[in-house]
Symmetry: C2
DNA sequence: TCAAGATGCTAATTCGAATTATTACAGGGT
DNA sequence: ACCCTGTAATAATTCGAATTAGCATCTTGA
């Protein structure tokens, strides 16, 4: 394996110093730096002849930045079972990283204890990158707290509660998105709502439920929260509009209603709160909203560069776009 | 902007010298190096508390190892239009990188001149990684030659022709896979074959066509190569079995035949040569073979570690699995 | 003629971690 | 006291390029 040429080698060949080679190479003319045209030409000629290129490693050592942005996930991102969830985020991340001229480091080495990666372990590699984007439905609280405490530059995709300090994040504005859906349903005459789903655990779940509660309170209408529920229970309770946290649950409701000969949205309106984490049938056009995943990825990388440059703590919620499906209609229950 | 911690910082906090920190960090016990257990513990404690990791840049400047493997592609890998192609490879790459305890560096910074990234540019970052996996249907010949010439450790996914020297690669054994298809068709009575597709350009295309020519020659049957062809031309020429390089082309043929009231494989057998680079209708079950993409990704990373450890030049073709579809049947043309 | 200024280049240092050579200090034996 | 042998840690150097301070040498102008 032929040894790489160094600036020292070039300098020797051109009969100048290493410093001169560097100055010529970087075309420096500012601040009292002067190189005679013939010297410059001589150096350039040697460089041209030898095909020398600066060693990027050495170059990077000098400035502080590695131009590497980390992407941490608790699980592998490429398996097809996971691709649906991660892919849109990653698309945005990649796009913006390209703009920023940074490379992306996927922390595949993070040892998986109990099937789940950890950010901090015996030899955490998180600081290999200049900064890091965190990706996942929920992030370990202790990991987050440690990141904050240690001042690791990072941005979470998805809003996060404080963890010993504010957590920089780019999230989706679920409360507003859910309120919007309730507003529309109320305008169509609905008065009895149900929120179907966990509504707790991950911030994304809690935020949706919070938006739901705010909205029903604001309108003075009835709103109940059920973790699981069959179609029968909902109908028995006089519910006319269901907001399903999981798209697949919403879709299941629609299918169940159809099987019973009920009409959606005639007899029941079903709204979905964002995207699926489980596969959903695609023959049901649920009304709801779309999470701007790709945009979140982009903004997260932008935010990360802000963190790196100004040490700020950016927090931002992006609006979710309303999706006009076929499962929201006027309430025609007995009034 | 929180400055990165250095070994010097750790040393100060632990009340030792930078050299000691390095020795502890690398767990050096050989060659007369001794660190008192309590000193070691103290240093490790500071490291643990601060979450310090060695700057990969500095480390790489000195010796040669980051435990970072690069992944180079000429285009973004995450956009959904590209995900189908890259994802299975990446899945294998990620899986094996995890086994090897390495992180993956996606070269998103490579500036896109004319819409295409280049491996080598003014400030190539390819050497940030210990080694690199190259991914793409075709790889620029000049880039390849330069990689070989400069002794950059890398492995190409997909067979590559020599470029100023042998190119390390993990490919799919297209010739064997295509020969196998022809063998089966001949056994079913087919005597007039057509190869539909480019058959040139990327090695993967050329390899398929080569396998086709070998097979028809070996059997002494008729085989023609057409870049584009309508169903009519093929039938007029008495072709009974078509091997389509592009899955979508094969599927189109089948649909065209059905529209004409012809039976596949009754009147015409259609075989597909691997996977789709363009979307194909999924209601046609083409007979052909499956490219072991994920396995190729895995093996490429394994091969790369071999390159790194022993400086070898691994070249290997993986077998493609036969896919029993519904479009290959006995030849019932006039015989 | 001699200081002031311009010109052209280089020595020395820096970045962060790894390594080698070396020092410092015990305690033990004579 | 003196030498020897472990033991424990550090100073100094290295990698390749970028940068700064500074040293020669040559022009000018008074």
């Amino acid at each position: 394996m032929a040894k790489r040429l160094t600036q020292q080698d070039i300098a020797r060949m051109a009969g100048v110093s290493q410093a001169t080679v560097s100055l010529v190479l970087n075309n420096r003319t500012d601040g009292g730096v002067r190189i005679a045209p013939e010297t410059r030409a001589r150096v350039l000629e040697v460089i041209r002849r030898t095909g020398y290129v600066a060693n990027p490693i050495a170059r990077r050592l000098h400035d502080q930045r590695n131009r590497i942005l980390g992407v941490f996930t608790y699980e592998a991102v490429f398996p097809s079972t996971r691709a649906d969830f991660y892919q849109p985020f990653l698309e945005g991340i990649e796009e913006q990283a390209e703009v920023a001229g940074c490379d992306l480091l996927l922390f595949t080495s993070a040892k998986a204890a109990e099937g789940k990666r950890r950010i901090f372990s015996d030899d955490s590699r998180i600081r290999l990158a200049d900064g890091c984007v965190l990706l996942g439905r929920s992030i370990d609280r202790d990991d987050l707290a440690q990141l904050v405490a240690e001042g690791v530059p990072f941005v979470s995709i998805g809003r996060r509660d404080d963890a010993g300090g504010p957590v920089p994040h780019i999230g989706a504005d679920y409360p507003a998105a859910v309120r919007n859906l309730v507003d529309r349903a109320v305008a169509l005459g609905h008065r009895r709502f149900a929120y179907l789903g966990a509504g707790t655990g991950a911030e994304s779940s809690a935020d949706r439920l919070r938006g739901f509660k705010q909205a029903v309170a604001a309108h003075g209408v009835e709103g109940t929260h059920v973790q699981f529920a069959g179609l029968g229970q909902l109908l028995d309770a006089g519910i006319t509009a269901v907001l399903a946290e999981e798209v697949s649950d919403g879709a299941a409701l629609v299918l169940a209603a159809r099987e019973r000969g009920l009409s959606v949205p005639g007899d029941l309106s079903v709204l979905m709160l964002g995207a699926a984490t489980r596969p959903a049938p695609d023959d049901v056009q649920l009304t709801g909203f779309r999470i701007p995943r790709r945009e979140m990825g982009r903004r997260a990388v932008q935010a990360l560069t802000e963190v790196l440059e100004h040490g700020t703590t950016p927090r931002e919620l992006l609006a979710c776009e309303f999706v006009e499906g076929t499962t929201l209609g006027p309430c025609r229950a007995q009034g």
